[in-house]
Amino acid sequence: MSATVGNPLLLAYAAVACTMLSGAVSLLAVRRHPGFLHFGSFLFLFFAGAASVAGGGWSLLAKLTVTDRFKLGLPWLDWHLRLDPLSGFFLMLLGTLVVAISLYGPSYTREFARGPAAQPLPPLGVFTALFVLGMQLMLLADDALVFMIFWEMMSLSGYFLVVYQHQHAANRHAAFLYLLLAHVGALVILLSFGVLAAFGGGLTFDLMRAAKLTPLWATIAFGCAFAGFGVKAGMVPLHVWLPDAHPVAPSHISAMMSGAMIKMGIYGIVRLSYDLIGDVQWEWGVVVLIIGTASSLLGVLYALMQHDLKRLLAYHSIENIGIILMGLGLSMIFLGSGHKMLGTLGLVAALYHTINHALFKGLLFLGAGAVLYRTHARDLDHMGGLIHRMPVTAFLFLVGCVAISALPPLNGFVSEWLTFQTALQAPALKNGLLRTMLPIAAALLALTGALAAACFVKAFGIAFLGRPRTRRVARAREVPAGMLGGMGLLATLCLLLGVFPTTVIEAMAPITQLLVHEALPSAAAEGWLWLTPISPQVASYSAPFVVAAIVVVFGLGYLFLKRGTAPARRAYAWDCGFGQLTQRMQYTSSAFSQPIRRVFGGVWKVEEKIDTLASAGPIPRVTSLHYSVHTHDWSWLWCYVPIGRLVLAAANRIGFIQTGNIHTYLKFSFVTLLVFLWIVS
């Protein structure tokens, strides 16, 4: 390991420095001149993001691994930093989002300086910077101490950002839950590092890589790491904090959280299990696959029941994390049973979906933020018809919807397709159980995809299509250019990553080289036009063709059908002759998901309530009906409420110690003394 500082690392340092500057600006200048937040700290944030992308991309494409150390930390342990293709990849992901929000933020944050619920701006800027800083340095960490310090810094500043609008009880509750789970998760991760350190005899990652673990302890270390990072990634059943925390944060922060922060959990899992622990066992893969499948399915089913746009998106993060975990699980299964190439395929699928989700989920949260910014509405049933008022936002949001619903030719589809392809190689396995399990998992993935599509038809359809449901929505305007720019960037990337998957996979080769010493040579065997992960005979996909074909159809349609015909006549929609249609006759989000709620009943704890108001009189007539439905998360009711009750019950039970009676206290110390005397004599 060379101790020389390579240039990519310097770029990363530049990114870190810019982030710090951004934080400093917010800390010092913003209280007096709020303008600095928009044009000072966000500017630096932009540079930080750009530098991260540059540095990460450099080390990824040039396959550079550079290390460095600072005389900080413990007297006998410096801060070890290291930038390698894996961290470079995630650094790029982070940087992209940072750039996007630094374009988006300046206009969006004006919201908070105005109005009766105006908040002080400096904390927002400072903790945004710390949040980014934590992630950047966590990715660069090369020893357990630095890793944990910045891991926790990320969680902590995330807490301050979630609780930023603390006048709402929902924010406080969500923030508390988030921090509690984050803290416990971090401690569990700590234990995993502890095991590695105990075997490796030191806290640096190099020693841990060198450590030879017994299978049992390796499994324990992996279990701890998986649980700990799983909390951050938001896998079922450790996800409960996520749908609470993400919606209440400011939208650009929600984008960072869903886009970047939960990916850091994925980074941790990959880093520990593939890099530090080393030899992957297929049993781990099975666990990861099962949990991943559960997360994706439950995530999307819960998302379907939401009518709060941001909450819906948050649940979709759980779903997508599940898909990523499925890819990882498959990869572990194949690696564990000796199929290196297939294992690599799974890993690539997982990483590809990681960056895809970062892009389109960031885009969608920014879109939701744009809607919130103009309409102050988060509830789908208060929106509608926004496509007429905010056409550009609508288009960008639609791109995100298509991408997340895994529809060709956008990026979401590619990664799911790769996951499918990996799963379909099940016959290569010896173990019959796995051979049946994998295709079933694939089918469930298909179910997930279909449900996700349904969910986003609902989200986009109810929010942007149809007629406006409230007056405020009817008066909405398009958002400023900066916000559109932020979203546009991500949308463009979604398209590019969807259309040129071959290039992307080639670029990822260094990561797989680093982790499993294997790449996918066949992926680009047929050139950039054809994606053939295993071999052209087995499977192939050509996104450019698809795009071309759709464009051609549009062109032909324009040429032959539109030309010469008279312009379209506008008329009222058919109202069955019952008079004018009103916006209240439209399907609501609850109505839209009602059939699915009925089909998959029992997945949720559903509370349906119908309040009927009957007018007084000899024959009571129903004057008004109010229908409300609430769906609750079983995992909350089954796992967390009992734990909370248990702790409090224990706390109450133990109160007897503090009776306030001095004789009791004296008895305590008397008995303690006698017992100890008895023990030692």
């Binding site: 909350w636 306030g660 004789h663 004599s681």
Partner: protein
């Protein structure tokens, strides 16, 4: 070696030690205030005598000083102080009920046996003739603590506390010919201040509680304000805030 084989002084020491132990038992059983204080004074006197005897038996002149200190504190000052206070708070005649007195005394006996058992392991070390008295001193200390636990009255608690001190002092004398002088002085000073403070507190206690029955002091009890279970980290499910 049997007691018969000891010199007269040592025999006397052992005798007085036994008497001191006896006084602890009396204190344990004594319900009325005045006799309690007097018994405590008696115990102090016995200790003084013991330390004088030890001083003579093994010519440790500085033991005379500590004997003097003990006399002043344990026989004169503290009993007098307690007497004056209980007179001021006119409680010198009131007696408190001791529940299960026989049980208490039996417990005391058990403590003696226990401390003997504990002391056994270390007695062999001492070259002193009077080594068996270590067990006695430990017993006196524990009995003092038992007294503090058993009694409701603040005064009784103070006396128990003081007799614990006496037991420890006794142990120091018989096992090691007393502590270094500086320690003795510091100890004496502390005890003096402590007894004065106790005196001050009697008044405060009576002013704020109307009695010296420490059993009633439980305003700071936590047993009776539990947390509502509903509070469990926000039981409102992470479901629609609506």
């Amino acid at each position: 070696m049997g007691i018969a084989a000891l010199g007269l002084y040592n025999q006397a020491i052992i005798l007085f030690a036994a008497l001191a132990l006896f006084t602890s038992f009396i204190m344990l059983a004594q319900a009325r205030m005045m006799p309690l204080i007097f018994t405590f004074a008696w115990q102090g006197l016995l200790l003084t005598v013991v330390s004088v005897l030890v001083a003579i038996a093994s010519d440790h002149p500085h033991l005379h000083i500590s004997a003097a200190i003990t006399f002043c504190l344990k026989v004169v000052v503290i009993p007098w102080l307690l007497y004056r206070l209980s007179a001021k708070l006119n409680m010198q005649y009131d007696a408190e009920v001791i529940e299960h007195p026989t049980l208490l005394l039996l417990g005391g006996v058990a403590l003696v046996i226990f401390s003997y058992h504990v002391a056994q392991s270390i007695i062999h070390l001492s070259g002193l003739a009077t080594r068996n008295t270590i067990a006695v001193s430990m017993a006196i200390e524990l009995l003092g603590m038992l007294l503090m636990i058993a009694r409701k009255s603040a005064v009784a608690q103070v006396i128990g506390f003081m007799s614990m001190e006496s037991g420890i002092f006794f142990a120091a004398v018989v096992s090691t010919y007393g502590m270094p002088l500086i320690v003795e002085l510091g100890l004496a000073f502390d005890i003096l201040v402590a007894s004065i403070l106790f005196g001050v507190f009697f008044f405060h206690l009576r002013d704020s509680f109307g009695s010296l029955n420490v059993g009633q002091f439980n305003r700071l009890s936590e047993a009776n304000d539990p947390m509502p279970l509903r509070d469990a980290a926000g039981e409102s499910s992470p479901g629609d805030p609506s």
